[in-house]
């Protein structure tokens, strides 16, 4: 109880009566003309108000709790010399600053803003341009990264960094950010209990969002468009993916969502539109797919390797070149009650469920897996005839892979 009171005093009392007095103004023509000096002069919990202007600084360290508040037009230019802002204390807020020209290094991951072993940080309304790494959270839990804009100009994977990176950081909220033109838009490694919501991640070289060894995370309402690949979730457990949009992730290795060694995930209410592969599933088990929309993808779902007890229910599969593709004859997954735009069966008893089961795997998808050039024969009469005969008597495709209750009307 005593300690709680102490913490309470520690945080609230100073800000209570030093808020106005405890403000340090920084501007190019002021007495305090650099941010470093401003931070030096500021007391614990003070606000450093950065006026409009360009500050040529780097390696700025924040070692006490305070707020860095930038006016519109307040720019820190690192001149490509190294890392810019390093936060080493709890309860630091960075708000409204623009940071430019982070140095690129092949040995150190220089970031525009790095948070190291600190908690209760808040990074918001920050704009990052021409960067290497953007916001790098290192062993820092319980923070918030909100409404930032990160615009990189990455050209090659080997010398570019990630927009927002979480490394051994738990309980972080990443919300409302816009990330584009970096390697991975948002990258999580050993980051658990993280919420990623309402971000837009686009035109990134590799992934829009990338999970490695991270468990119990949730991402929702994000848009991933035009990335090398949309979202990669690898070696992680209990990830909930809901209400996201994966669009136009095009290319030979491109997909909307990649699941590699993922167990017990939930994928619900997402939209996969015009991706080369909607979801690429590799060795993932007990994943539940419901209420998703797969629209005009090359392959809506591509299943590779051993995947067990996954279930696909109540999804819409609309005008995909291939709905489902398998590379083995084995099937342990359930398809039930989905809408398939290619379904040609009938519903005589008018219960809204087709009377004939639907076979979502075409023989042609096997042939294309084997000889990729054959893709050029897509939708040819010859292929349709072959597919039809395979549908009548399956030889190459798993014969238990059917949706026994295909619905007649698409779900809204």
């Amino acid at each position: 109880m005593k300690s709680v009171l102490l913490i309470f005093l520690f945080f609230l009392l100073p800000s209570g009566w030093t808020q106005v007095a405890g403000q340090v103004e920084v501007c190019p023509d002021c007495a305090v003309s650099t941010i470093k000096k401003g931070i030096e002069k500021a007391g614990v919990g003070d606000t450093v108000l950065i006026r409009k202007g360009t500050y040529l600084e780097y390696n700025i360290a924040v070692e006490k709790p305070l707020t860095l508040l930038g006016e519109p037009g307040a720019v820190i230019d690192g001149q490509d010399k190294g890392e810019i802002l390093r936060i080493l204390a709890d309860s630091v807020t960075v708000d409204g600053i623009e940071i430019r020209n982070v140095g690129t290094s092949y040995t150190t991951d220089w970031a525009a803003i790095r948070v190291v072993k600190s908690e209760y940080y808040r990074i918001e309304h920050v704009t990052l341009k021409n960067l290497f790494f953007g916001i790098y959270l290192e062993r820092s839990d319980n923070g918030k990264v909100l409404n930032n804009t990160i615009i990189g100009d990455a050209k090659d994977e080997y010398n570019s960094g990630n927009g927002i990176q979480l490394w051994y950081s738990k309980h972080v909220e990443v919300r409302g950010n816009h990330v584009q033109g970096v390697r991975d838009g948002i990258y999580l490694e050993f980051a658990d209990e993280v919420v990623i919501a309402d971000n837009v991640s686009t035109k990134n070289l590799r992934y829009g969002l990338h999970f490695m060894f991270s468990n119990n995370d949730r991402y929702t309402g994000n848009t991933f468009e035009n990335n090398g690949a949309g979202v990669a979730v690898m070696f992680s457990r209990n990830i909930s993916m809901t209400g996201n949009t994966f669009r136009k992730n095009w290319g030979s290795a491109a997909f909307g969502l990649l699941l590699k060694e993922i167990n017990d995930a939930e994928i619900r209410g997402n939209t996969f539109e015009e991706n080369t592969v909607g979801i690429n599933i590799d060795g993932s088990n007990r994943v539940v797919y419901t209420d998703n929309h797969f629209i005009k993808n090359g392959w809506a779902v591509k299943v590779l390797g051993a995947c067990y007890t996954n279930s696909f229910r109540n999804n819409n599969f609309l005008y995909n070149s291939f709905d489902i593709s398998y590379n083995s004859k084995m099937n342990d997954n359930v398809f039930d009650g989905n809408y398939w735009s290619e379904y040609t069966g009938y519903d005589l008893d008018k219960d809204g469920i087709g009377d004939v089961p639907y076979r979502p795997v075409k023989l042609f998808s096997y042939i294309v897996n084997r000889t990729p050039e054959t893709i050029i024969l897509l939708r040819s009469l010859f292929m349709d005839i072959i597919d039809f005969s395979e549908k009548v008597s399956p030889i190459f495709t798993p014969d238990n892979l059917v949706d026994a209750n295909p619905i007649m009307k698409r779900r809204q």
Binding site: T276, V277, G298, Y319, S341, R379
Partner: protein
């Protein structure tokens, strides 16, 4: 030539088959749109129909017209009209009446449905343009067959065989060769093989719009160049044009040297 075209066209426009063809497309359009209520799905179904049915109808119609108008042709040959005009005129008459039926038969239901408000208009126009090209090509091929074969039964046989080959057998052989030689780089081969068959060519042209996501999944650089840029569209269009011009040219060439 324009006069011959005019008379052939009027003649065909009055024939029962033009109506049947027109009504067929009209009904197809209405059924697809108003029973389905889904433009995207309708466009996909239409594509299948266009690349299979349009060549068949063009071939059969063309060959039928040639044989049935033999006497008419001879009547014209005795008139002071150059042969080129007679044959080009008849060809254009048949091809344009078929194209007319196709475009209006499918166009009317789509326009009534409110196509101009939909973003599928580009896909749809591409379909119609491709269909028109296929009509031009296969009618010209049929005229070639008819002009080189006096025997109607043989001519019909060749025409049906031609269609069967272009629409089905060619792709079968294509697939088999791709699978057999899968260890070799096959980019150039596949694209060349596609360009050499107008049915495949048209299909690819439409695929570039409908299934671009899947086409870009393939790693080959040539493919990527072909599908990923406008190059594919331009090359395909030029090839379709060549496919139209060459048979027409040969038809005129043979007709000029033929005895009637």
């Amino acid at each position: 030539m324009l006069k011959i075209l005019k008379y052939s066209f009027y003649d065909l426009m009055r024939s029962r088959w033009s109506y049947v063809y027109f009504l067929f497309y009209l009904m197809l359009g209405f059924v697809l749109l108003f029973l389905n209520n889904d433009v995207s799905k309708a466009v996909i179904t239409l594509m299948n129909i266009i690349i299979v049915l349009v060549p068949l109808i063009g071939t059969i119609f063309g060959i039928m017209y040639c044989y049935n108008s033999k006497e008419f042709t001879e009547l014209l040959l005795a008139q002071p009209i150059p042969r080129r005009s007679i044959f080009l005129g008849q060809y254009l008459g048949v091809a344009s009446s078929l194209t007319f039926s196709l475009i209006f038969g499918l166009g009317i239901p789509f326009v009534l449905y409110g196509l101009f408000m939909s973003d599928a208009i580009f896909d749809f126009s591409l379909l119609l343009v491709t269909g028109a090209f296929l009509t031009l090509i296969f009618t010209a091929l049929a005229f070639n067959i008819a002009i080189s074969n006096e025997n109607r039964i043989m001519g019909f046989g060749y025409a049906v065989l031609l269609w069967l080959f272009m629409a089905v057998i060619y792709d079968g052989l294509f697939l088999i060769s791709l699978v057999i030689f899968e260890e070799y780089p096959l980019d150039n081969f596949s694209i060349a093989a596609t360009l050499l068959n107008p049915v495949d060519l048209s299909r690819t042209l439409i695929l570039l719009k409908l299934d671009i996501s899947a086409l870009l999944g393939y790693t080959g650089a040539v493919f990527k160049q072909f599908f990923g840029t406008n190059a594919g569209l331009v090359i395909s269009a030029v090839m379709l044009l060549l496919w139209t011009i060459f048979p027409v040219w040969r038809m005129v060439y043979v007709a000029k040297r033929k005895d009637f």
